[in-house]
């Protein structure tokens, strides 16, 4: 079941909310929690009921190991074995086919196995539970009952694609008695956050997908994309992915808030970042946090000298890339970001500061360059787009742009820029398309994000100063004008549901 579907919005969600608060109002807190777990499992099993057994076995296993580890059996062997079993399951479902394909290519063999279908959300719930086991071993967890643990793993707003929650943030919230009493404040704040995310997904991200699909499929078909077309393709994909995934995260945060639960922040206007390190503090923040706490720091972090730190950085990014999917393109993406982080790290040592605009421009260019292998289906398509971005496939602008050039066009023509029926390869780009991308640009680069808009009402787990914005006039308030705006956004987004599309991060 998708968040952006009629069945979820108009059937599943109202039933679960009404059931939860009706049971909760009678002080049957354990039954209310059980109701939420059952609803979450139903939500998970909607795609394929066969997947249910995997998540249930995973929960039973990890809770049992966690209990053993917390009962003073501080066995490192048990911890390592449990982590290995979790990772083995992940490797089997997610990477086994990739492993066999790679062997076939490298060793010129012809091994054929049945295609293993990736169970939904396995990367997310595996990571959450590994973190739980490690912290239990470290003695950093409290005694939690099985029901709370199940709710922590399966809670449907964050189950499929995050934010990757931490037991420290979630389990104490489930223990609060106030959670089970209907609170209009939570409901309204949650509804507003959900709607903002819904709008980002249904209107902004899906409205961009057509151009992205067309240009990347042309690149995959060996059509050489020219300079502007290649950069525009990557920029469009950057917008699509950002609005899709941050929209999904907002929807998840909003849904959880309707039940009185506050989730951690996942995006903080990453494209406004002025260096690549800040970008990674703002993009998929809960994954970055996990990789930092459970991979980078255990590898030694920056405690074992400069060279080792840079190696750790690269390892973390490549593995982070592979977490997104079993493919060399993800490894390349991770490698590129590792390289960018190393360059930035070394540059910082020099103490030379660049003007803010140049820093931002360099950062966004690097990010756009790296999105290409993340989206392209093959190495050939990646190289094609990269060649275009480097100007090796020529320069071509739509003919209508000459009207805005005031004579500059004749000068450009003498410098290898052609004006044609554009981007002949990428269909006809009209002025209205350009205006649409200007609109997306303004929202992504200049406007406050959802958390900043909602900051008066603690939308996320982080403290306000981590995402604060000074333009107070834009803050959300429970006023008439905001209720009209949110209603209009909700209706517009719902009307676009006839063309339902999955969230991009579901594949990871």
């Amino acid at each position: 079941m998708l968040f952006n579907s009629y069945i979820f919005i108009f059937v599943f969600l109202p039933i679960v909310l009404v059931g939860f608060y009706t049971i909760g109002a009678k002080s049957h807190h354990r039954i209310a929690s059980s109701w939420l777990v059952a609803a979450s499992l139903f939500f998970y099993g909607w795609w394929n009921p066969a997947y249910l057994s995997i998540i249930i076995i995973s929960m039973l296993f990890n809770y049992a190991v966690g209990t053993a580890l917390s009962e003073k059996i501080k066995s490192k062997t048990l911890l390592i074995t449990a982590i290995a079993i979790n990772l083995l399951a992940l490797v089997y479902y997610k990477y086994f086919n990739f492993f066999i394909d790679s062997i076939n290519v490298l060793a010129d063999t012809d091994i054929h196995l049945e295609k293993i279908v990736l169970p939904l959300a396995i990367s997310f719930f595996t990571f959450q539970q590994i973190a739980y086991l490690i912290d239990t071993y470290r003695g950093e967890t409290r005694e939690y009952n099985f029901l709370s643990y199940c709710l922590f793993v399966t809670f449907f707003p964050q189950l499929i694609a995050g934010p990757i929650v931490h037991h420290r943030e979630m389990l104490p919230q489930f223990a609060k008695n106030s959670l089970y009493k209907l609170n209009y404040r939570h409901l309204v704040i949650g509804l507003s956050i959900f709607t903002l995310g819904f709008f980002k997904k249904a209107i902004l991200a899906d409205g961009t997908s057509e151009y992205v699909n067309l240009s990347f499929s042309l690149a995959a078909s060996d059509v050489p994309l020219t300079f502007f077309a290649a950069w525009a393709s990557s920029l469009c994909y950057a917008f699509q992915l950002y609005f899709d995934f941050s929209g999904y995260s907002d929807m998840a945060i909003g849904l959880a808030r309707m039940f009185g639960i506050v989730l951690p922040m996942n995006f903080n206007s990453p494209y406004k970042a002025k260096n690549i390190t800040i970008f990674w503090r703002r993009w998929h923040m809960t994954l970055s946090r996990f990789l930092r706490d459970y991979l980078y720091i255990p590898l030694g972090g920056n405690r074992k000298g400069k060279v080792r730190q840079l190696i750790n950085l690269m390892l973390t990014m490549v593995l982070g890339g592979l977490w997104h999917g079993a493919g060399w393109n993800f490894a390349i993406w991770g490698f590129l970001h590792g390289a960018f982080l190393i360059i930035h790290n070394m540059w910082s040592q020099l103490g030379i500061k660049l003007p803010k605009l140049i820093s931002w421009w360099l950062t966004i260019s690097a990010v756009l360059f790296a999105w290409v292998p993340f989206r392209a289906n093959s190495l050939e398509a990646t190289l094609n787009l990269w060649q275009g971005m480097l100007g090796m496939n020529g320069f071509l602008l739509p003919k209508w742009t000459t009207h805005f050039m005031f004579g500059l066009d004749s000068w450009l023509v003498t410098h290898n820029v052609a004006f044609g029926g554009i981007l002949q390869q990428v269909g006809s780009v009209k002025l209205v398309d350009v205006l649409w991308f200007v609109f997306l640009f303004i929202i992504a680069f200049l406007m406050p994000n959802t958390q900043q808009l909602m900051q008066r009402y603690r939308p996320v787990f982080e403290s306000r100063n981590q995402y604060t914005n000074t333009r107070q006039t834009l803050y959300w308030k429970p006023t008439l004008s905001w209720s009209i705006l949110i209603s209009v956004l909700f209706v517009c987004s719902t009307l676009s549901l006839t063309r339902i599309s999955e969230f991009l991060y579901f594949q990871f």
Binding site: R185, L187, V188, L191, F490, V491, C492, T494, L495, T498
Partner: protein, 210 residues
């Protein structure tokens, strides 16, 4: 404090419901996909809404259900454009003919539309225009094709709630968009269909033109 939030939620509910209702009523009145019986006239002929062709898979499925033909023509764009609307009057005088062809139709879709039509009203005759591509193994059903709207399932058991079509024709961005577009006038539209699924003009240069 809670009453402010309660008032907000009430306003949200009322405004959203109102907007949904307005959209549905507007789309019902304009009827951009010709499913609620609104009459459009072009050059003296009763025709389907100009936006009918934009949702042709849905339009023809509903058209078959409402028209209840006893003779059906199937096929791809060749059949859709290649048959003159005069054919039924010339060769199939005693039949109630519907042209169920649409571009890119696969052989599976033809089978399913045949089952749908036969369940809506028993068929006497069926004409099928065949193309090689229809049999291509990797050729998947068209995006606009939906099992949900057909009267029977693959095993000929009654199915189809019509809920999805209700949603697509009344509460959807497409319906709203095409309703506004339909208001801009018939004259600008090139592909216009008759209520029996035939094109008014623009049918090709094939041998079937009379």
């Amino acid at each position: 404090m809670n009453h402010i939030f309660f008032a907000y939620s009430r306003r949200f509910f009322i405004i959203s419901t109102l907007l949904f209702c307005l959209s549905a009523v507007f789309c019902y009145v304009i009827d951009p996909f010709s499913v609620y019986g609104r009459v459009y006239v072009k050059e003296g002929m009763v025709v389907n809404s100009p936006a009918f062709s934009s949702q042709i898979q849905m339009g023809k499925a509903i058209g078959i259900k409402q028209y209840k033909p006893d003779t059906l023509i199937f096929g791809s764009s060749r059949t859709d454009s290649g048959f003159s609307p005069k054919i039924p009057k010339k060769f199939l005088v005693n039949n109630k003919v519907y042209n169920g062809a649409y571009p890119g139709i696969t052989i599976y879709e033809i089978l399913r539309y045949f089952q749908h039509a036969n369940a809506s009203a028993p068929l006497k005759e069926v004409f099928i225009g065949l193309d090689f591509f229809q049999f291509h193994g990797s050729h998947r059903p068209n995006k606009g094709f939906s099992e949900e709207r057909l009267a029977v399932d693959f095993n000929n058991k009654p199915s189809g709630s019509g809920l999805k079509d209700l949603q697509s024709t009344l509460i959807s961005g497409d319906a709203l968009f095409y309703s506004f577009k339909a208001l801009t006038g018939l004259g600008k539209w090139k592909k216009v269909y008759l209520p029996n699924g035939f094109k008014t003009k623009g049918y090709g240069e094939g041998w079937l033109i009379l």
